[in-house]
Symmetry: C2
Subunit: 294 residues, 2 copies
């Protein structure tokens, strides 16, 4: 990771984490529910999505504190999806980021409800932001609903479950990831542009950047499952191959997947060329995505 | 049920149902997911919550079609909560409104995801309404998030699960119902007032009406579980007593529960006296709530 990116993360990570935790702690709600929500929110995520909201906003010199709130909302959606995905009736995972999953600690019923509450809270915190116009809030809520719902993340998870027991082609695999993880990543990047009153052209360039970063992110995830160790990943490595899951390395070979990763990385950088702002940070972010080892 | 109320329901039920179904059918999402969402949405609910949105709006002579959209959003939240509540890890119900529950038909994974998608969609449809100002949309989204999330419905469900294995007192029982079912009923009524630009005084009177109707609704539910037949209810009658659940009849005796029901009914009517509008329909709605047999 570059020094500039490290410095950026050091500068903002604490504020992001504080906002996420504050939004839950201030709720007048049963303590067990808040504990379950906070357990997964604090379980050591890298906060890539909130950091993207902040990084795009910073590129446009937007220093308003609401960028952390939008980041917190995205992280709530991401976290609720992990809690529900880990349930026994879904992926049945007992370990996530090196820790027992939510339902292992709190039971299935509370895990399901903590996920539900985080999903709902994400929209509430967007609606309650100060210093953001109602027009922008409505646009952000609409886009987050599309990105995270039946047409985005949840729809992608349905396709993913449906594809588990058969071999997918590349186009099916990309559709799953575009919905399951890409849509939320795109929202993270687009929301930073909306908050910062970016021009239509800048916004479109960023959406293209987000598209390629999203695919690159998933390819690297698949590569890490082959090449990484369980210790590095905080989850069982090699699980994809063992379960015959359709992945980029399985479809393209490991070398083919690495080549495809580089292609999308280059397309992402090329999209940034259309921006007149200083895109150094977003370039380094892209580099981190494709070269990370966990 | 009075003729006036019957006529009102006949006049609006089809438009409510159409809006609910349209909002799901137009989604670009996996068909299996849409089928699962639609199955529970169409499973024969009485649409009490959407009808309240419309009834309050009609009292203020508000004829805009968006009242159906807000009604659809509330019904989505209500339906998602039923799907998740019925899951084996929660109440483990296999029958709802006389039909197999969602997870019995579609499996637990898809049922969980259909619930998630309905939760998310509710906020999306509010954000996308035409002819409603961004200010009002943000207010509605904020209130729906509070009513349905950790501080409302989901929090109430946590308290309910937590209280299953011990005897609750009346105050604990009311707290559960205020959150679990009352908050969404209140939103249904308050949202009609917001859409119709009701005065602060009118809105407060309606909130008080909603409060008492909410408790009355739950007491009648508990009474019906004792007195009704499974055929009338479309679910297993007598289940509360069998499972030692804390209910109004269990705490107050059947006669005591009926007396309390009448008290809240009278308080609800009294709140309506503070309105200068024609409250006939809301009075008849209240009467229906306390005298319904299913």
């Amino acid at each position: 990771m570059s020094n500039r990116l490290k410095q950026f993360i050091n500068e903002h990570l604490e504020a992001i984490n504080r906002e996420i935790v504050d939004q839950v702690e201030r709720l007048h709600a049963p303590q067990a529910l808040k504990d379950s929500m906070l357990y997964s929110l604090k379980a050591g995520g890298k906060r890539i999505r909130p950091l993207f909201v902040v990084a795009v906003s910073e590129m446009f010199h937007n220093k308003q504190k609401e960028v952390y709130t939008v980041g917190a909302a995205v992280e709530m959606i991401h976290t609720y999806s992990l809690i529900h995905d880990d349930l026994p009736s879904m992926d049945n995972d007992e370990l996530r980021r090196g820790k027992p999953t939510n339902h292992v600690v709190f039971g299935e019923a509370l895990a399901t409800l903590a996920g539900d509450a985080l999903n709902t809270l994400a929209f509430g915190v967007l609606a309650r932001m100060e210093n953001v116009s109602p027009e922008k809030k409505v646009e952000l809520i609409n886009l987050l609903s599309i990105a995270s719902g039946a047409e985005g993340m949840v729809g992608g998870q349905v396709l993913d479950l449906d594809g588990e027991n058969r071999e997918l082609n590349l186009s099916e695999l990309e559709q799953i990831h575009r919905n399951k993880t890409g849509a939320i990543l795109r929202f993270s990047i687009e929301s930073g542009a909306i908050l910062s009153d970016a021009t239509k052209e800048a916004r479109e360039a960023l959406i293209e950047y987000a598209h390629h970063i999203g695919i690159a992110f998933q390819i690297q995830d698949d590569i890490l499952d082959v090449e990484g160790t369980s210790e590095q990943l905080g989850k069982t490595a090699g699980k994809d191959e063992e379960s015959n899951k359709s992945t980029y390395p399985a479809l393209l070979s490991l070398d083919g997947a690495k080549q495809k990763l580089q292609e999308h990385y280059q397309f992402a950088l090329k999209a940034l060329n259309r921006l007149s702002e200083d895109t150094t940070l977003l370039r380094e972010f892209a580099n981190y995505i494709v070269s990370r080892n966990h």
